[in-house]
């Protein structure tokens, strides 16, 4: 599973009940594991945007995209090429210590991290960045002991005039 490529798929859907289940079924039936899934509003309240990252082979991906496109409530679905801005947000909880504080301060610019909260001996560290940057920072801060972590999953938008 781990050697398979990770794909980012963007789906514009009509805001109707059950559409998430229908899309999930298309993936599940073909053995595709969804790594992250973000459902969010768009500027038009009739539609929502789903950004999905999933692992699997290209041939199956083609089938999945075609079958998601076939769903009545899906406006369009495509895998996203490179020409996008992508972001993800992570919240990490660590023990509050001067070492962590110093580490976050040192990396504030490079990794877009900051301490959001300090209570009952814990820090909540917030990071925004690409999925890769989040992975990198997580690996680095691990040595200070991470108690909990939560990530939003990736969102993206195409650059320039082209619609996502």
């Amino acid at each position: 599973m781990d050697t398979l490529p990770l794909h980012t798929i963007s789906v514009l859907v009509a805001n109707k009940p059950g559409v998430l289940v229908r899309i999930a079924l298309v993936f599940a039936r073909r053995g595709y594991n969804i790594n992250s899934l973000v459902v969010s509003p768009t500027i038009n309240p009739k539609f929502s945007r789903m950004t999905i990252t999933a692992k699997g082979d290209l041939e199956t991906l083609e089938q999945i995209i075609k079958n998601v496109n076939k769903l009545i409530d899906v406006i369009h679905c495509e895998e996203h090429p490179a020409n996008t801005v992508e972001k993800e947000l992570a919240l990490l909880k660590t023990k509050a210590s001067p070492a962590v504080k110093a580490f976050v301060a040192k990396n504030a610019r490079k990794f877009h991290v900051r301490i959001d909260d300090a209570s009952e001996g814990c820090y909540i560290i917030e990071q925004t960045g690409t999925t890769l940057e989040l992975d990198e920072f997580e690996a680095l801060i691990k040595k200070y002991g991470v108690l909990e972590m939560i990530r939003t999953g990736k969102i993206l938008i195409t650059r320039g005039q082209e619609k996502t």
Partner: protein
């Protein structure tokens, strides 16, 4: 525009169920097949006095297959109405059957009241959840005023593009509440559904046409998509212009006449030897609305290796799914083939046709008339006695394959069979639906002793509505197709296939008020068949045939046509690697 509905005076207050029925009337729905129950009573109530005829079946599965049979014959959606919970779940097999074979159908299910949803109310089943993977689309209605829009969308979706079943789950409070919407013919709201009529790209057709140039051994493969789009006339033009032989899938039967000199009949697992030889040796194959199903392409690595593969399909997701075509066009088969004919030139296929003629002579379909009554003789006799003019509906198993081999079909929509799902119990109720659709036609259900017993209770429906359906039971006292596999691949270790102790089917028919005929000898086969087919009302023909016969030719599942056998091999066969 739904004129009928639009002009309905809306002065008199109506409820949701009445709005629903008025909409369906507006679409020209003639029949609804169903079975009532608490959550659906308001809808059944709205049918009182309606011009839509309600056909009460004995089981919800029967209702779905009748709607399916009606839809396959008329091309119009079949409509089913059932209650919540078990009534709804009883439709699942019929919905799968329709989905797999792209049949337009609307299934209306009653549901518990909205405030009880998700609380395990009496007879609550999450039917839209249960059926999600087997419907083209579905709705759980939450607002009475949405009913006309939803019904209109469902009506449109189920029969456009690639047809399929649409389910509408209707909570009882929603159908009971007063309808206060502005119109019974509102705007649809399906911005994601742009696939109703995909127009083929001219450039794709031009590209496809180029592949024919200089080919010596072309083969046309006709699938269900050709039937659904009435592509027959166009295909005939194409075949005759090219001089190309034509083979068909199980569901493509009839759209190109099987009696035409260029026809090779059905190909695939139990197809004719000559069709499968053509598959092996062709240098170009054009699929016209077939999805290269595993019954015809057991092993993709060995499939038509030396041929250019071309694919016409209305459903883009079928392109590249199994076969990677050299050229493809997305569009309705008829539209595409009509264009394609203009762009191709006649080919020199004289040697190719001669080669195939040789295979036809060398490996004809045949059966013995000296070792007792065979299913093949019964079906062949039925074909001859009815002069090939009947609408034939089959069940699933050996008899289905023999029917496909021996009951040649010359018209699309005259052959009904559960191809994709392989649903036992389909054949008889589907024939009933076909008879509703075509009351003047001769309708014959060719069924096995196993499958018939799954839905035979619809003999009541046949009796009550005086439908002259002829039910030809091929009684081999076995779940024959499974027995054949056990014999060939599992050392004849028979397990769970013995039907010895079958009921007396003639008496059974009579108990339902239906005439029974019986035959068990080669000698009386034709005279009994004549009597039965000339009988005015519904009848059952109980044909007791030899028990241990096998369907040949056969390509073991998971294998390519190279591995076709035309008779029982003397050496032991390995277990098949394909799915079933």
């Amino acid at each position: 525009m739904n004129k009928e509905a639009a002009k309905t005076p809306s002065k008199k207050a109506i409820n949701g169920a009445e709005a629903l029925i008025k909409c369906l009337e507006g679409f020209g729905v003639e029949y609804i097949w169903g079975l009532s129950g608490g959550a659906a009573i308001p809808i059944f109530d709205a049918l009182v006095g309606s011009k839509i005829k309600l056909i009460l079946t004995r089981h919800e599965q029967g209702a779905t297959h009748m709607a399916d049979g009606y839809a396959r014959v008329t091309g119009k959606p079949g409509v089913v109405l059932v209650t919540s919970g078990p009534g709804a779940t009883n439709t699942v097999t019929g919905i799968l059957t329709a989905m797999m074979d792209s049949v337009p159908m609307i299934v209306l299910t009653g549901q518990t009241i909205t405030s009880m949803l998700g609380k395990d109310a009496f007879q609550e089943a999450d039917i839209s959840g249960i059926t999600m993977p087997v419907v083209k689309h579905s709705y759980l209605v939450k607002n009475t005023n949405d009913i006309p829009r939803i019904v209109k969308e469902a009506w449109h979706i189920c029969q456009t593009g690639r047809p399929g079943p649409v389910l509408i789950d209707l909570p009882k409070d929603i159908t009971s509440a007063p309808f206060s919407g502005d119109s019974l013919d509102p705007e649809m709201d399906i911005p994601g559904y742009k696939k109703d009529t995909p127009s083929p790209h001219k450039a794709d057709i031009v590209k496809m046409a180029k592949f024919f140039k200089g080919k010596k051994k072309p083969l046309l493969l006709v699938g269900h998509g050709a039937v659904l789009s009435n592509a027959g006339a166009a295909i005939k033009k194409l075949a005759e212009k090219l001089g190309a032989p034509v083979t068909n899938t199980l569901l493509g039967k009839g759209e190109f006449p099987e009696t035409h000199p260029l026809s090779l009949g059905m190909l695939g697992m139990h197809g004719t030897a000559y069709a499968n030889k053509a598959l092996i040796n062709c240098d170009l194959i054009l699929s016209i609305g077939s999805r290269w199903d595993d019954r015809i392409n057991g092993n993709n690595n060995e499939f038509c290796v030396n041929a250019k593969k071309l694919h016409i399909d209305v459903d883009f997701s079928e392109i590249n799914k199994i076969v990677k075509p050299d050229a493809w066009v997305v569009g309705q088969a008829r539209e595409v083939v009509e264009e394609l004919v203009k762009l191709v030139d006649p080919l020199d296929t004289a040697d190719w046709l001669k080669e195939l003629e040789y295979y036809k002579k060398e490996f004809p379909l045949k059966y013995s008339k000296t070792n007792g009554l065979t299913a093949q003789q019964v079906i062949d006799t039925c074909y001859k006695v009815t002069q090939g003019r009947a609408i034939v509906s089959t069940d699933v198993g050996q008899h289905q394959m023999w029917a496909a081999q021996f009951y040649l079909s010359d018209k699309g929509n005259y052959w009904l069979s559960s191809g994709g799902a392989g649903t036992m119990g389909y054949g008889f109720p589907a024939a009933v639906g076909a008879q509703f659709a075509a009351p003047k036609d001769l309708v014959v259900a060719i069924v096995g002793d196993g499958g018939f017993q799954m839905t035979l209770y619809e003999l009541s429906t046949v009796f009550i509505h005086k439908l002259p359906v002829k039910v030809l039971i091929i009684d081999n006292k076995y779940l024959g197709m499974v027995r054949q596999w056990q014999e060939l691949f599992f050392d004849n270790r028979l397990s769970g296939v013995d039907l010895e102790g079958n009921p007396d089917f003639v008496k059974l028919a009579e108990a339902y008020g239906v005439k029974g005929f019986h035959m068990d000898k080669p000698e009386n086969c034709e005279s009994v068949m004549r009597d039965a087919m000339n009988y005015k009302g519904p009848c059952v023909i109980h044909a007791e045939v030899i028990k241990e016969d096998n369907v040949f030719p056969m390509i073991p599942a998971g294998k390519s046509a190279f591995h076709m056998i035309v008779e029982k091999p003397t050496t032991k066969m390995e277990k098949p690697s394909g799915s079933t």
